[in-house]
Symmetry: none
Subunit: 224 residues, 2 copies
Amino acid sequence: MKILLVEDEHRIAQSIKKGLEQERMAVDVAYDGIEGYDLAIDEEYDVIVLDLMLPGMNGLEICDKLRQNKKETPILILTARGQVEDKVEGLNKGADDYLTKPFAFEELIARIRALIRRPQNIKDELLKIDELSLNVSSFEVIRNKKIIKLSSKEFTLLEFLMRHPNQILSKEQIMNHVWSYETDILPNTVEVYIRNLRNKIDKGFKYPLIQTVRGFGYKIGKNV
Amino acid sequence: MKILLVEDEHRIAQSIKKGLEQERMAVDVAYDGIEGYDLAIDEEYDVIVLDLMLPGMNGLEICDKLRQNKKETPILILTARGQVEDKVEGLNKGADDYLTKPFAFEELIARIRALIRRPQNIKDELLKIDELSLNVSSFEVIRNKKIIKLSSKEFTLLEFLMRHPNQILSKEQIMNHVWSYETDILPNTVEVYIRNLRNKIDKGFKYPLIQTVRGFGYKIGKNV
DNA sequence: AGTATTCAGTTAAAATTCAGCTAACCGATT
DNA sequence: AATCGGTTAGCTGAATTTTAACTGAATACT
């Protein structure tokens, strides 16, 4: 595991580095923000540990810039005690975790391990069918470069359809997966939602993507 | 996407439920093991999130029993910190992932997403006879690369024939299997449907696949 | 104001029946 | 063994009935 540690206080930096190396991690240290940023961009680290107060460029800036440049390396931020607002802002800027100084070394190790273990694919999940795409994490739906606004239920329904492309889904199945069991819904509600979806994602396009299969249900896909 | 959360501590359960709902998931909560098990069996969930320590029936038992009953719904187990042996046992019992409490909510979301994304049993059931194929899940019928549109009853009838290739099926048998018991239908109705089917899947092809066996019934298959 | 759900009337497609037709089967006749 | 009716099972075109799905608008919720 390869770690980048950005920390300007040499004594602290050396002690952390030593500790991590005992855990058999490879540690690079940068002593100012600019050096840290450059290393983070050029090298492939598994985790970046970032002090907030830094000469050159502060931790939040680094964080922000890295994310803007599509660097998705997990970032752990070190803050001085009580800088609560910084924590919040750090998470907003794309940091993955934070730790307050002073900390127990065990805690640091544990958190780094957690970040390493974390499934990297928190990347946006994109479902695609033909020229229609749905971004699960950003809630965006696009057909043919046109952005389409959906309500929450419409989105959920479309997501369910798109996770089963070209499969027939009965109204029953749809009711069971898109709604929870306490809420009981008339089958007609599904019909109404299908209509709303069609108005938004099919109307005005060359061909429809939502197909009715009378007696069985609906399916999504290009009809041949 | 529909999630079942089995967790006895109401406060925790509610907070998780709320969080998941913000991610546009439909969440059912069960507060003890037995209720959880029953729901898991009766409903169709996309993912089950299971606390280990539960009144009634513990998480491992639920997991075990579900798998024994051929429920293949992905299961994510929540364990208290340090119950490492439980994790191992959980995975043995058929769980798909585990997460240690306390966890970052992001982490939970990410893991649930990963389980949903996981290629489910997308087994398209394909029936084939000669150059004729029928896809039960997508409702598609193809002969010789030509896509054939069928009505619901036509499809059901063809499916019945194709599940018994080269067998003679009497009108009586067909009436009993393609129609429900109560509905009584004239034998002529079957004849009419056979005609409709022939018009769609035999007409215009080199040789017919549906054979009449006078006095006995019909069969499907290449006639020798 | 936007979303979720229901309602009630309409539309369109599929299901079923009907009535006349066709063709296979079979015994009687040549 | 070829031909003739008579009988019946199966075929067919079209009419009729039934029903699934669609739709515009109302209502309730937030």
